[in-house]
Amino acid sequence: MVREELQATAGLAHLDLSEDEAAAALPAFELMLEYFAAMKAADEDEGAFGVPVLDLPPTTQAFSAGNRLRFDATANNSNNTNSNPLYNLANELLNRSPESENRFVVIPNVL
């Protein structure tokens, strides 16, 4: 059962494990999941949290400090400035693609 879950998970993650690789990864995978499953003890461990842990809201970020929005302006492509290291890089980025042609990134087609 866990082994099938491991392969299904590998499929979602695009890791494409061979049977041997899956077999090799399984013990560590199971051990860690067992460790994770032990978190269930926290549900009733009021000694640890003061309240049942299920009453606590999840934290997705340690801090927030008000809204953060970017002003809608385009980068000036002809005038690369030090304060903004990201722009005017299109050609450089294209050069990093393993395969490109006529400014397109090339990958095999589904045949």
Partner: protein, 505 residues
Amino acid sequence: MSRTVLQDGFSAYLDAWEARIGSFLEKDAETIAGSAVLGADREPGYASDSTKGVLRGLPFGVKDNIAVKDMRLSCGSRLLDGFRSPYSATAVARLAAVGAMPAGKTNMDEFGMGSSTDNSAFMRTNNPWDVERVAGGSSGGSAAAVAAGLVPFALGSDTGGSVRQPANFCGVVGLKPTYGAVSRFGLVAYASSLETIGVLADSVARARTVFAAMRGADPLDQTSFDAPADAPSLLPLGGKPAEPRAIGVLSPSAVAKALASTLSGQAGPAGNGGPDEAAREASAAAMLEPEVALGFEAAKEGLRALGHRLVDVELPSLKYGVPAYYTIATAEASANLARFDGIRYGNRPAYAENPDGLIDGARGSGFGDEVKLRILLGTFVLRSGFQDRYYLRAQRIRTGIRLDFNRVLAGVDAVLMPVFPTRAFGRGERGLSPFAQKAADLFTCCANLAGLPALAFPTGVEGGLPVGVQLVGKAFGEGLLLDVAEGYEAAHPIARPAGYRAFWG
């Protein structure tokens, strides 16, 4: 700080150390050796003038998961072997703006996943105190380079202890800032909500200067913040004694005991070694090595002698920290590492039948086993039907740990705890199992879960290896931690490995 004038023999010194420890994956020897000092603007994509600023002329190492324009950015992974960054991290650019010079990329566990740096796809990094032992990880290259005196400081990243643990193993200062205090822009993401760029330095004062230069909100990272106006000052102590503080002391043995009693009997899916195997191994891994315990007691004495008031504190939530940490970290990692597919950059197989084959091939051959394991775990805990049990429960525990720290820190200025249960471990039989290495993150990962600053500093040498402690503080309270540690350092100068020479002023 004055500009460094290098003494003769530095190049030979560098080469000799590198042959023994292997800390750099790529280095600009001229910059490190100082011949490039005063070379003005090297134009690595940001304004830099090595003749000006508080870090003028100082070279620094950069962990290979932090972008420096035109340097490699492999993250210790085959998948990114040969990849060069088209841009620089904000932290790097800010250091360059005050005269520091990125001098090379340091070795690391692949994508930051590991505690030894042995998970690098490229090479091992040895501990400068004992080359048979690991430098720690995942910022092991940075720690080793600083410990050997090859650079005065280096950048690392700390997701669950990856700056503090190798700093501790190598006997240097390791600062994990408050979450968001330093921009993450340019740090290749492992677990976005937990990690920060941190500093490994040869002194507390240096760590302070470097941190002060890097920190502050960055429009390119909307999770970065300026410190509030009432945050403790980052002004150098300048030889003055540190103000006496109330320091909470966490009892490591109490934590280990609590772990053993809580985790056992909470079986998940039956593992090969029986339902309690994970719990047993985890509580065993939490026990301090005698030398570490000795160092911890000595540090308490030392702090007391400096006038600090030590009080016992408890953090009962801590025992859930590691599984919660690994659940969250692997979940975020599974998404963060999805972009590595060999399409737009990086390495891809020579032939693939279709896009899926290309992606599978690139990831299958590009990632190492530990990275694959963590991606699998992270993918699993986010799957529908499993989220509540794993990911969501971990995020609630995280809230509990945050509140627990807030409660304790309302009564004390900082919490003192060990960094890692062992000193630098060896390899093979003398090493720690991969699981034990993870379980041993218990003292470091909680600061990441709570987003709090933590400073690891060396306190002495036990059995030929450095030992040290860490202080965890209130959010944006780095200044206070640095003050206490700088006072400690003044009274107990940092020990250096044999063969160390001080080249940096």
